[in-house]
Structure formats: C-alpha cells, structure tokens
Symmetry: C2
Subunit: 478 residues, 2 copies
C-alpha cells in the first residue's frame, strides 16, 4: 500500500455523512443548463462550488465565457477553475467535471423529488446530478478535506476545471481549454476525468478509448412543394422513394457498413488487443438487459464489445421533411433529408471517411436514374480518442482500484464520444484518463438517477488513492 492511505481512508469513512450532506446541498440546486429559467441556479451552483473550494484553501476563479450563442440574453455559466497546491516537486493532475445537470421533473416518473437527495435502505442516493456529475466533482473536494482532517499532505498539486454547460453542448469550453493550456493548466502532467460509468455494478473500470462520430445529412428534392399522392402518384419521381433506396445501401441488417473502403481504414485487431476482451466483466445478459430485448447482432461478449468499442457502426436516425406523425397523410413529400452517422475508430480520418461516403452516395444515386436532386453533407464530426493504458496515469489508477476495491479494473473503451476528452488531450498534449465513480445502473439522464453510497464513499477513496499512486509511479515510456 502507498504510504498515508490508511489514515486518509479512515477519515473518508468518518466524514462520510458530511460528504453526503455536501452532495445533498449540491443536488438541491437545480442547475439545469438547458432551461433559461434555471440559469440563475447554474450560477448559484458555480458559487457553491467555488466557495466550498475556497473554504478548503484552494485558489479559485470563476471564469466568464460571455453570452450564450443563439441566446444572447443569457450569460454562459462560468468555468470554475481552482488550484490546490503549488509544489514544483510534485506532479500536477488536472481534473475535470461538470456542475450542471439534465432537466428533471417529478412528473416525468421520478419516485422521489428529483432535487432532494433521497437515500433508500439499499444505500441508493436518488437525485438529479447525484452521479452525473455532482458526486464525482464533489469527490475531489472530499479528497482534499479528508487529507486535511487526517493531517496527510496531498501528494500532488491539483488543478480543477468544472464547467456548467456540459449537458447543453459545452458551449465555449473547447476554446477556453485551448487558451488556458499554456496558462492556468500549463503545469498539468496528466488529466483525469470522472464523468462516465462502470461497465457493470461491481467492478470499477478505467476507460482509455472513445469512438468518434461523423454525422451526415443527405437531402433529396424534387417537386417544388408537397403533392397529393392521389393526384400525382405515378407521374413524378418521388424523393422518398429515392431516399429509402439510398439509405438501404448504407448498412445491412447485421450492421455491416456497405460503403466500400470504410472498413479498410480500421486499424487491424492485434493479438494483444484481442486477448483483452475476454477479461472484461460483461455478459450477453448485461447487453440484453440494456437493450430490453434479445436483438443482439453478435453471439459473444467479446465480439459485442469490439463492435461497440473498436469497430465503426452506421446508424440511420430518421428522415426530416416526410410525414412523421401518427395517423395517415397522403402526401408526396417534396424534399426529404435523411440523417445517419458513422461511429469512427482508429485510424479513420474524418476527411477520408467523408470522401468515401459522398462518392458512394452520389454514385448510388446516379444509378437510380432519378430526375430528383441529391445533396449530401457532413453535419458535424468528432474524432475518436484512444489513450495509452500503459501510461503512469493509468497504472496509478489501476493500483488505486486494486487497493480500494480489491480487484483489477476492467480496461474499457466506450462507443460514444466525450468531446472534452479529446479537447484536453489535444490542448495539453498529456495523457487523459477516464476514471468513473458511478455504475451502469445509475440512470444518468433518465428518471430516478442515483449514485450508490458505496460508489460515492469508496469512489472518494479511489480518487485520493489514485493521487497517491500518481505521486509514486515512475515516468512512462509511452
């Protein structure tokens, strides 16, 4: 065991009720970034966080980000940045979290008041923001407090970056991180983000990869206005006929992407990587439970995890401009816009993917001999991210998991994107670790969001232990 952990752990246990009180106060502030009327609460949450940090002796700033683009009557919530410790002989860890939350109404189906932390007899602490992401953010504050009260020196310098717009597109954050990378964040030796989830409920994980996303629109237009299908059906080319034809050429029912060349861009599976998946604590039953159905494409957990983490996928999201309401409408839509996206993985570069997508769709449309007009464009893209899990940032976290939970963590990737991860990596050039606190059943973004008391308290120990192992790890070769 790293020195100093025992007194820290003991102090965390002793302070656990006070840590839960801290979370209770934070959950009580409905800091919903998507709702104009709650913007004052988002600011209130920033003040709460800043004053808690100040009370712990951190150097804190609330940095304004200006007006909200498209909603210029609103000020963006500040980024709360803080420094705790400034010892040149220590490593400096930059931690990220967010203090805003998703909307929540009791009427949505919550069993309890969403903005009152309610603990049941299984130790589940229900409340909006409990797991996403107030619990993990407060975890860092708890770590500082427990060290202080245990009389143990924090073994690293801590830099904090807590934002208030994560649930609404992280407006302005990327530029902020970029501009502070050589200023407030310049000493950072590595980054740690606690804003995702364990793969299951029992075993912590360290996350070292995320897929990217290229989101496309394809429009097909013909007649100048919507037409009556009785009057004109059979006499004009119909955009919807061409649209379903084009969309049907993108991916087969087994999830195979049919766009030639896409799979050639994918990094080959190495023996070493291949051997990782069987160790992961995951079962096909877990998948069925998440889906609520047995519509799995692959029969093994290994192939399923690879499909989610290390292979691209193509999903068709919907069609804009066609009839989408319940009931019947005998319309020939004049212009329809299909939406689909490709989840990208190493080594798919966005430009190369775009060219393959555009060329293929245009070639397939040409084959239709339709007099309609097609256009296809990239709506947005976000790059995939893969970090080296052999970096000291990860080995330290791995040892911390072993210490606190008694198991080796799952080394996971995720199928979705967490754009801030890439922003930090690109701006600082340092290794980024995703170190989740909550479990797969926490229902972030959903009704009855919760954080288990065990995850919060042991998770606080984990964050602290991680900092101690960080202080001890030798520099990495990777």
């Amino acid at each position: 065991m790293a020195p100093q952990l025992e007194p820290f752990f003991k102090q965390v246990d002793e302070l656990s009720n006070s840590f839960i009180d801290r979370l209770r106060k934070a959950v009580a502030i409905p800091s919903i970034s998507a709702h104009d009327e709650n913007r004052k609460d988002v600011f209130r949450m920033a003040h709460f966080l800043a004053s808690e940090l100040e009370a712990l002796g951190a150097e804190v700033e609330q940095r304004p980000l200006g007006k909200q683009p498209g909603k210029e009557h609103l000020d963006l919530p500040p980024v709360v940045i803080a420094r705790y410790g400034n010892d040149k002989n220590k490593r400096t860890i930059l931690v990220y979290g967010h203090y805003d939350v998703q909307p929540a109404l009791k009427d949505d189906g919550w069993a309890t008041e969403p903005f009152e932390l309610t603990i049941d007899d299984q130790g589940r602490m229900f409340g909006r923001g409990s797991t996403d992401d107030k619990g993990p953010v407060l975890g860092w504050l708890n770590v500082i407090e427990a060290h202080q009260k245990a009389g143990v020196e924090l073994p690293v310098n801590l830099l904090c970056c807590f934002e208030g717009m994560e649930e609404y597109g992280s407006e302005g954050l990327e530029e902020f991180i970029k501009s502070e990378s050589k200023k407030f964040f310049k000493d950072a030796d590595a980054v740690c983000i606690s804003d995702n989830y364990w793969l299951g409920t029992e075993k912590p994980c360290l996350t070292y990869g995320l897929r990217g996303c290229n989101y496309y629109s394809v429009s097909i237009s013909g007649p100048a206005q919507d037409l009556h299908s009785g009057v004109f059906g059979g006499s004009t080319h119909e955009p919807m006929t061409d649209m379903v034809n084009i969309l049907s050429k993108l991916v087969d029912p087994k999830g195979n992407i049919l766009i030639p060349g896409i799979m050639d861009l994918v990094a080959p599976l190495t023996e070493e990587e291949n051997s990782l998946y069987s160790k992961i604590s995951y079962t096909m039953d877990n998948l069925h439970e998440s889906l609520g159905s047995k519509t799995n494409i692959h029969e093994t957990k290994e192939r399923t995890l690879m499909a989610r983490w290390r292979y691209p996928s193509l999903s068709i999201h919907g069609i804009e401009g066609a009839f989408s309401a319940p009931g019947a409408k005998t319309v020939i839509p004049a212009k329809v816009i299909g939406k689909f996206s490709i989840r990208t993985v190493p080594n798919m570069e966005s430009d190369a993917v775009n060219k393959l997508v555009f060329d293929y769709i245009k070639a397939e449309f040409a084959k239709l001999n339709s007099k309609n007009t097609l256009d296809v464009w990239l709506q947005h893209d976000g790059k995939w991210w893969v970090a080296s899990p052999k970096h000291w940032n990860f080995t330290a976290a791995s040892k911390a998991v072993k210490q606190v939970f008694g198991v080796e963590p799952d080394m996971t990737r995720e199928g979705g994107s967490i754009p801030v991860t890439l922003s930090f990596e690109q701006a600082t050039g340092k290794n980024v670790l995703l170190l989740p606190m909550g479990s797969s059943t926490d229902a972030a973004h959903s009704v009855n969001e919760k954080l288990d008391k065990k995850n919060y308290i042991e998770g606080t120990k984990l964050l602290g232990a991680y900092l101690h192992y960080v202080a001890e790890e030798p520099a990495s070769e990777v």
Copy 2:
C-alpha cells in the same frame, strides 16, 4: 338547343350581380369545420343555405348528425337536404355539395381577406370557399332562381344534399346517405356532384373515374427503448436499418410497384380507352407547372394521364418514431412505423391487394434475418370508382357543355379519391356524374382560393342546361 335554355341563360346574365352577392354572403361566413371555435359559423352557414332554399320555395330540412366522435362537446353540423319539385313525370336529380370550408388566415399569405369576396380586374373572385364548394352549391340555387324569374319550369325534380363536414372527414355522412337512400333520396334517377375541377383553365370536363386508396402501416421494433447510437451502434439490430430496407423493396424510382402480383390485378387497357387520352386538353407543361419541377416519370401526356388515372401507384409518406426534426440526434429509434399507400384502380379488390402486400413484406423481412419484429396492417382503404360515361347522365352533361362552352368536354378521371361519390353510387345504385365548376388554377385548400366570375356564371348556366338535357335524354342501355 334544348327548348327553354335561351330565356334561362338571359336571366342568369341579368342576375349575375345578385348571384355574386349570394356568394359574397356565403364566403363571409367562416364555416371552418376543422376549428372548434368556428362550429357556430358552420351552423350559421347551414341556416343561411336553408333559408335561401326556403325562400326559393324548396322543401328543406336540416338533419342533425349527433355529437362529433372524439369531440363530444361539439354537435356535428346538419346535413341540409331539400326537394324542389315533385312531379312523377319528371326525372329526379340528386345533387351534392358541401358548405364547410378549409381553414384560412390572412397571415398564411393571402393577398386579400380570406372571408371577404374580393374581385379583381380579371374577374377572379378571391375568398375561402369560393370554388370549394360554396360557388358550385350556390350554382344550384341560382339555377332555381333564374328559372323562376325567367318563367321557365324546372324540367326535373331536384334533390339537394349539402353537408358541413366535408373538409373534416365527412363524419356521419355515409351512414346518413345509406339510411336516406330508401327515404328522402329514394326517387333519385341519377346523382350529380360538383366538387372537383377542370383539368386546365379553358375546357370543362366530366369526370367518370377516381382511384381508390389502400393506406398501410408497417412497424418494426427491436430494443425496448430508444438507444444511444454511440453506446449501442454495432451491437444490436436497428429497426431503421430494416425499415429502409423493406420500404426500398416496394417501388422503384420509375414508380413501378415491385410487389409481385399487383399489376396482374389491373384491368387491361382497351383500344377504345387508349384512344381517349390523346383528345384530353393537357400538356406536359401543365404537369411541370403543377409539380413546380420537371421530375416527370413519363414523357408523354397520354402515359402521364394513364399513370394518374388508370394505373396504380405506390407512395412512401414517411416514418413515425424516427428522428424527424431539423438538426442532429444520435438516436437508435426503438420502434418505427413506415407509412405508404397504394392508389388502386379497376379491378384491384382491397382484400387481394392486402394479401399481396402483407405476404410480400413478410417474406422480404424474413430474408433480412433480423431479430427485430415486424408487423404490417391496413390503416384504411377506399375503393376506386368508375362510372359509365355513356349513361344519359353523362351524355346530358356533355351536351350542356357543348351548348354553354362550345366545346366537347374532356372526359376525365382523377387520381385522388372523393369518397362521397362511391357512397352515393353504392347507396342509390344510380349513375353518378362529377361535373366541376372551377378550374385547375382555383387553389382550393390553398391561399388565395378563387373562382373565376366566368366559371361561376357560365357554370350556373351549365348546371341548368344539364338539367334540361337530362329531361330529354332517352334511357341508357348502360
């Protein structure tokens, strides 16, 4: 010329300003059947029509239809039925029209107040309901009045059936027609409906056929709830992938229905019918103008008109349950419902069409080897209708057109459905004629709806002349 027409025509010309005043009063009543708040105006319009008919000496009843299904706080507007003349030695013609209108707001883009009849220097009478269907309905009243003032006896008995819910599904009308077919309507020798439009702007038409419509829903469901495409993309069968695949198998870009057996149900084209199309006053430019594009499938007017009138067509209307808004959403929709319809023609029986559709879609879905679940069902159907254009009802109308406009009418069919046509044919067993008053540019249902003064006044003459020729025509063999 049939006797008595000259004094009738002269009287119509003399009364034209008074007839326009009658239309002005009718347009001023916003009898919008779709809006709860205008229901009182729909009733007001029924009273107006009933009192005008009574003033002309007709025997009039306003028949209640009960509460509106699904909106039980509203009474359905009455059917205004009337009899004018009861001479057993005369033929009896049952005429249908509707006195309710589509919604209209100046802000929708009207150049004039929609509920103030406004006449421009080209004689275009703008106003909601002017052409659809208050002008044609008042045409019958004008015919009676002009006969009275000209001292000419009406050569037939007239039965009127004017409804107030046509623009909102004709709630309750079919049952009413059925129940009155052996009562109030029992003497009818033929039916005349004036509620459609000329093919162009110069030449009247008689319409003897309509396509039917079988409207289908096909649902595909998989996961229990919508999923995040990043997290689950690649690991589950996606309903949208299967949906675009199935929809792409229904019809090709040239409008050919791909469901085996459907075209075998279509009545073959006879030499006689084939020869009719070239005479029709219609050009490809007319089609391009209607479409606002040059996306025609066929290169000739003959083939185009056949495609609209006598061949089936299949249109894909849209998908319920998928992402349909502007912007981007990275969702895997859990359940999607595709909507499409087939326009039916002789001799396609609904049951036979349904069986072919259901069997084919289920077979195509089975080929996908998807673990998702498919269902397909008929949302509603309406039968096609074709009348004999050699019946005395049509030959009388044809002679009347020749008399009033100096041309042979176009003998047309329509691609859309007018369900009341079939209701009258089936309930009375008599020949039904569609005898439009307005022209193709009247913009029914759209902004700036209008009826040309010429169409209204000469159209009134046409309705009257039709009744005189009806009285003279020998019984038909068909």
